[in-house]
Symmetry: C2
Subunit: 158 residues, 2 copies
DNA sequence: GTAAAGCTTCCCCTGCGGTGGAAGGTCAAG
DNA sequence: CTTGACCTTCCACCGCAGGGGAAGCTTTAC
């Protein structure tokens, strides 16, 4: 089948499929004499895997790595479960961060109800956002203590 | 004071300060005859506000907007509390999404313990990641139902 | 006088997952 | 024979918050 048909089967755009090939998560297909790409059913299965892995929070780079492990060493299940473990831990960290941030944002908003709008000073722009260290959530300390990997928002695509 | 000194006071790099000026969250300072930027103390206060607002999850574009509101309409507190409300709601959504994803990831990992690595089929790459619709967390439905704004990971910078 | 540090503007690069468009080739129907 | 749909490659761009480095001034310290 040609790329447009594959795109329709997979629920992706033609652009995305070429992008996946270039990203190394979809093997280069045969070509017709015209130069058109020519796919078989395994491409559909592969794209399903890619979508499922993305839904599980894996990046294209990780998916490519999983595929490479499979090609070299056989079933990559161990590798995949390691990835899943790491992602679950990352998600726990990220959820904790966002929860702390949300609580701080709510606290600021609630505090704002008791403030006089006229009390804003020029330099500070708006006293709803307090600029003293003590009242701010400790983001810098978190960032330093946090692992160097993963600033990426895991999962959550459109 | 010159830009390097301001950077040290604010705990930022010289690059970042020039970037903030260009981004519209720090006003253009006076220049010395040499062309060097010359800041006064209000720049320090402004940068403190920018950092605090960032820590509260506001983007530079939003911070610029808050500053613009203040310049046009006086105290922007109402605008700021509206932003905080919107961010709190965004964070709630995001936390819910990440929590659902984390649960799904854990479920996949736990399910993997009962699988035989030899059972992986070629096209599917690895059966730890099931490619059938039913077992996948419903990300596409979320994305469609979700608000069009904010894919950005709010807060959480390094 | 000269070296080092600091400053200026300028443009490009990062990650991530794509999207948009231009210029051109191919194929089927009418 | 032409129109339109489909395909090809290539290059550039999106958001976000900066970082890297070049080429060329200015200021400071010795």
């Amino acid at each position: 089948m040609r790329i447009g048909e594959l795109a329709e089967h997979a629920g992706l755009t033609v652009k995305t499929i070429r992008f996946y090939e270039q990203a190394g998560v979809l093997p280069e297909p045969e070509r017709r004499p015209s130069g058109y790409r020519d796919y078989d059913d395994s491409a559909v299965a592969r794209l399903r895997f890619v979508k499922a892995a993305q839904a599980a929070g894996l990046s294209l780079a990780e998916i490519r790595e999983v595929i490479a492990v499979r090609d070299r060493n056989g079933p990559p299940c161990r590798h995949v479960t390691d990835l899943l473990n790491a992602h679950a831990a990352d998600l726990d960290r990220r959820i904790a961060e966002l929860t702390a941030l949300r609580d701080e944002v709510r606290r600021l908003r609630d505090r704002a109800d008791g403030l006089d709008p006229a009390g804003c000073e020029d330099a500070a722009v708006c006293h709803v956002i307090p600029t003293d260290q003590a009242s701010c959530v400790q983001r810098s300390a978190d960032a330093v203590a946090g692992s160097p990997r993963v600033e990426r928002p895991i999962g959550v695509r459109r």
